[in-house]
Symmetry: C2
Subunit: 205 residues, 2 copies
């Protein structure tokens, strides 16, 4: 079966986002990341920067950090915490985008949200610490914290968020159809490989 | 860098062994499974059937099941349990085989044992339960126990053994360069993919 929708989960610094963009270009389908955030903002009234920061890291925060984050009337959230409100809206946007047609979606537990669909290829991209440290310093610059600490923090929060909302382990290979070490395999090769699997039925009619 | 040695770990019933054999044929390199067992037998004096059964499932057993399994003089094991004796011998055979040249090695924690080498491609093959149940009944026949139970038992013991000897989680994707769902991707496609990654430098000189 042709895999029309590609979801990409990724360790911070592994190049998963760049790989997702390149796969979408290669397949000629939309790539959802920022656009997804805009749609969630429209649906919820939450600030795009807030969604970008919290959409994958929400579950670790306390209730109070949410209560102040939402600018609208509290009852618009139907009694949910901002965390659950954001999850519910984000989930619906992802389900709607998948209905619209072939696409690439990066992050945001899309692999779990779309797990019942048979037309998805679920991918996880990771890499060794050295490769990722070098990459984040090159792309995002130095910071007060060591690159190792930045990786640990961001991936730790992604893992907690994933576990909280899905009940599954982030990075457990049975959750994905394909996992790749981008440092060993190479970013370009990862792109070719994912794209060729996504359109395999086109090649073999 | 060319990956001269391919290690394949696999869930029971996922087709990992068949994939390993086919990759070795495609690359024209030796495939180690039974031959590895014979070499361990030669080195240890243990029965080949015993090694085949225990080489990947040893750690869960009690001391007594070992004490009676070894037919030779107890001091030949240097005070080790049969379990540790078998692990040590198997580890050395795998290190020696890797020194000999390009090959495919299935199972037996070879991914961990060869983790320091830069010329290895470490692969894990898994598949959904339905796919694996159908496959083990077709290949190995029915048994008194349900196929689901047979999968759970065998994979559970592989996971315990792996954890015991390596300290790592079996099936955690960061232990492998590539993991594949053979049911979704297809066994033949898995073979092509692994073989092409193993010889990638040959294609791009």
């Amino acid at each position: 079966m042709e895999k029309k929708i590609v979801t990409i989960s990724r360790q911070f610094g592994s190049g998963g986002r760049s790989i997702g963009k390149a796969v979408a270009e290669k397949l000629g389908v939309p790539y959802y990341d920022k656009e997804l955030i805009c749609q969630v903002a429209e649906r919820t009234g939450l600030d795009t920067r807030y969604i970008e920061e919290q959409g994958e890291y929400a579950a670790g925060r306390t209730f109070f950090s949410y209560a102040f984050a939402y600018p609208g009337p509290q009852d618009a959230m139907g009694g949910m915490s901002v965390s659950d409100f954001l999850w519910t809206a984000q989930r619906q946007v992802i389900l709607d985008l998948a209905e619209k047609g072939p696409c690439v979606i990066v992050g945001r537990c899309a692999d779990y949200i779309l797990r019942e669909r048979k037309d998805c290829l679920h991918v996880f991209v990771h890499a060794d610490t050295d490769f990722r440290c070098e990459r984040i310093v090159r792309l995002y610059g130095e910071s007060e914290r060591s690159p190792e600490e930045r990786l640990r923090d961001k991936d730790g929060r992604r893992a907690v968020n994933y576990k909280h909302f899905t009940g599954r382990e982030w990075g457990e290979c049975t959750n994905y159809h394909l996992t790749l070490n981008s440092g060993v395999i190479g970013v370009d090769r990862c792109v070719d490989l994912i794209a060729s699997l996504a359109e395999k039925e086109k090649e073999q009619p």
